[in-house]
């Protein structure tokens, strides 16, 4: 079982995920941000499932390991879909929905193919390795896609405060996660680093919840103010 700090972060993260869904329902935005809600609902369910498996079988059990890696791949996939749904929010007026759908499928299949090629050499636990590799690669693709999406927000002069802040929170989450992952490769022995990525998991739903709570769908921003260096 994780220590008390780990458990607190875990429970907080799950509570924030539920908070976002509740806020969306309360502000009548559930359907508008359906895929974000779906991702966080799935994440809550997975979190509860992981806790019960951990409680019953222990952290070193095969049950926990399989559940952890497969559910992680599923969650990353859901986050990828949520990110694509943000693309459709931003590019909605360009009527690029069909291209976007095929682009996303192509990218997903490409990432899955690449992940398979990487793990194909190792014969044992091929499927678990594949789930892990797919999850890591999708995170990287997610970071790149969020960066491109931010470029599109600036280029298309997106003014909706909610959409802008949701995308920025996602960008912060992806880049901080990538940094913490790289940091973990340097030195895993420091306990602070081990808590970093679960703590980041709390940031995303909390920041999204605050955005939904604080701003209405009609709130607008001046896009020029978002650019750090005026053009």
């Amino acid at each position: 079982m994780p220590g008390p700090t780990g458990l607190i972060i875990w429970f907080l993260g799950t509570a924030f995920e539920l908070l976002f869904v509740v806020c969306s329902l309360a502000r009548n935005s559930f359907l508008r941000y359906f895929f974000l809600n779906l991702y966080l609902l799935l994440s809550t369910t997975v979190s509860i499932g992981r806790f019960f498996i951990l409680w019953n079988y222990g952290v070193r059990s095969d049950e926990y390991m399989y559940f952890y890696y497969y559910s992680d791949a599923l969650l990353t996939l859901a986050l990828f879909v949520a990110l694509i749904s943000l693309y459709s929010h931003v590019l909605g007026e360009l009527r690029a929905g069909e291209y976007l759908k095929w682009g996303a499928v192509f990218l997903l299949l490409g990432t899955a193919g690449f992940s398979y090629a990487v793990v194909a050499q190792s014969a044992d636990r091929l499927s678990t390795n594949f789930a892990y590799e797919l999850s890591q690669n999708l995170y990287f693709v997610g970071l790149v896609l969020t960066y491109i999406l931010w470029g599109a927000v600036l280029k298309l002069h997106e003014t909706r405060t909610r959409v802008v802040q949701i995308i920025l929170s996602l960008g912060l989450y992806f880049s901080a996660y990538a940094a913490s992952y790289a940091l973990m490769n340097f030195s895993e022995k420091y306990s602070l680093i081990r808590y970093l990525s679960p703590a980041l998991g709390c940031f995303l739903p909390l920041s999204w919840s605050l955005t939904i709570l604080r701003y209405s769908e009609e709130s607008r921003l001046a896009p020029a103010r978002l650019v750090a260096v005026p053009r």
Binding site: T161, Q165, L168, S169, Y181, A182, L210, R225, A228
Partner: protein, 133 residues
């Protein structure tokens, strides 16, 4: 080597998203006009300057807290410290960084002044409600 490269690249994107996120928070209050009272007490007439930030945050600490703006103020405070650090470290290499960071810190000061304005209005409202009771 690869991990170091990923770490540096992700820190760069983290910095970029952090700056934009804080700017989006500040942009939401940039159109809010300051009340005459707050202008008097902070000394901000129309445009804030980088030096106003410390004074305005000290005034904010004197005013009873308001839950709604607590997290935003923390983020903007982090942004202010980040700008100070960036200016101290790199302005000797890129001199234009000094004027840019001062411009940004002026934005932070205006954001804090708007928060102060809202806190005063909120506390007045609470007092009026107590009087009614």
């Amino acid at each position: 080597m690869m991990a170091a490269l990923i770490f540096v690249a992700s820190l760069a994107t983290l910095g970029m998203f952090f700056v934009s996120y804080c700017r989006s928070l500040m942009a939401s209050s940039s159109r809010h006009p300051l009340s005459a009272e707050v202008r008097d007490v902070t000394g901000i007439r129309t445009l804030a300057s980088a030096g106003d930030y410390r004074r305005v945050t000290q005034l904010l600490q004197l005013c009873p807290d308001r839950q709604e703006d607590r997290n935003e103020l923390k983020a903007v405070n982090m942004y202010h410290s980040f700008l100070t650090a960036i200016r101290r470290m790199f302005s000797w290499i890129v001199p234009s960084l000094r004027s840019w960071s001062e411009h940004e810190q002026a934005g932070c000061a205006y954001f804090a002044a708007v928060a102060l304005d809202r806190r005063i209005a909120h506390n007045r409202e609470m007092l009026a409600q107590q009087d009614d009771l």
